[in-house]
Amino acid sequence: MIAGLDLWFWACLVLSTLSFAICIFQFLRGAAPDDYSQGSVLVLEAFLMIYLVGSIIMQALTDGPSGDWLEFYGYLITAMIIPAGTFIWSLTERSRWSTLVLGLTGPVLIIMLHRMNMLWYYY
C-alpha cells in the first residue's frame, strides 16, 4: 500500500501512463495504430485479466471488498471492455485519430482502478 492505494493500482498507473505516452507520441507523429500503440493497450487488457484472477484469489483468501462486491466486479468487467473496445476500433479505423482513441484507454483505467481501490478497502 502506497498513499492508501494498493500495488494493483500503482502497477496500473505505471502501465497506463506508459501506454498513454506512447499513443500520444504516435498520434502527434500522425501515425495510424501500430504495434507500439496497439501493443500497449493489449498489455493493459492482459493486466486487467491478471487483476481479475488476482481479485478472485484475494476474495477467497480475505473477506473480499469492504464495499459491495457486485459494484467492484461490475467496475472490473466494465474496465475490461474498454481496452478491448479501443483495440477493436483501432483494427477497423486506420487513422491517427484511432491512435488517440487508443491513448484514452490508460487515463480511463486509472480513474476506474482508483475507484475500485476505494471500493475494496474503504467502503
Binding site: G74, Y75, I81, I82, G85, E93, S95, W97, L104
Partner: protein, 141 residues
C-alpha cells in the same frame, strides 16, 4: 437529396467526430453500468437520482449511435440527443445544489458532473460545437 448531401454529412463522422463517438461510447458504458448496478442494488435509496442516471445513460446511447451514423436523420437525432444532454446536465446540476435531499446518490449529471471531472458538462458543449460545424447543407434551402 439524400445522395447529394452525403459528401458534406460525412464530415460529422470523420476525424475529430470519431473521437467524440468514442468518448460518448465510454460514457454510455460507464453511465449504463453504473445505473444498472444502482437499479439492482440501491433503487429504494434514491429513486430520483437513479432514474436520472438511467435516463442519462439512455441519452448517451442514442447520442453515440446517432453521432456514429451518417445521414441527415442521424445529424438531427444527434442534435436532439446532445441538446437534451446539455439541458439535462444544467438542470440536474442546478437542482442537485438547491435540493440536495433529492440527490442522496450521485448521478452522472448531479453537481454538473463533478464526480466525472466535469466532463459531462463539457462534453455536450463540444458535441454541439461539432454538430453545428458539420451542419448538413440543405439542398432545397
Amino acid at each position: 437529396m439524400e445522395q447529394s448531401s452525403t459528401a458534406t454529412l460525412d464530415k460529422k463522422t470523420s476525424g475529430f467526430g470519431r473521437l467524440l463517438v468514442v468518448v460518448y461510447a465510454v460514457f454510455t458504458l460507464s453511465a449504463g453500468a453504473r445505473s444498472l448496478y444502482q437499479v439492482i442494488r440501491k433503487f429504494d435509496e434514491a429513486p430520483l437520482s437513479i432514474t436520472l442516471s438511467a435516463i442519462s445513460a439512455l441519452i448517451y446511447l442514442v447520442a453515440t449511435i446517432a453521432l456514429a451514423k451518417k445521414g441527415e436523420g442521424a445529424w438531427k437525432v444527434s442534435l436532439g440527443a446532445v441538446g437534451i444532454e446539455m439541458a439535462g446536465v444544467i438542470l440536474v446540476g442546478i437542482f442537485s445544489y438547491i435540493q440536495p435531499q433529492h440527490f442522496e446518490l450521485a448521478s452522472v449529471w448531479s453537481h454538473f458532473g463533478s464526480g466525472y471531472g466535469y466532463i459531462p458538462l463539457v462534453l455536450p458543449m463540444v458535441g454541439l460545437w461539432w454538430l453545428l460545424n458539420t451542419r448538413p447543407v440543405w439542398v432545397n434551402a
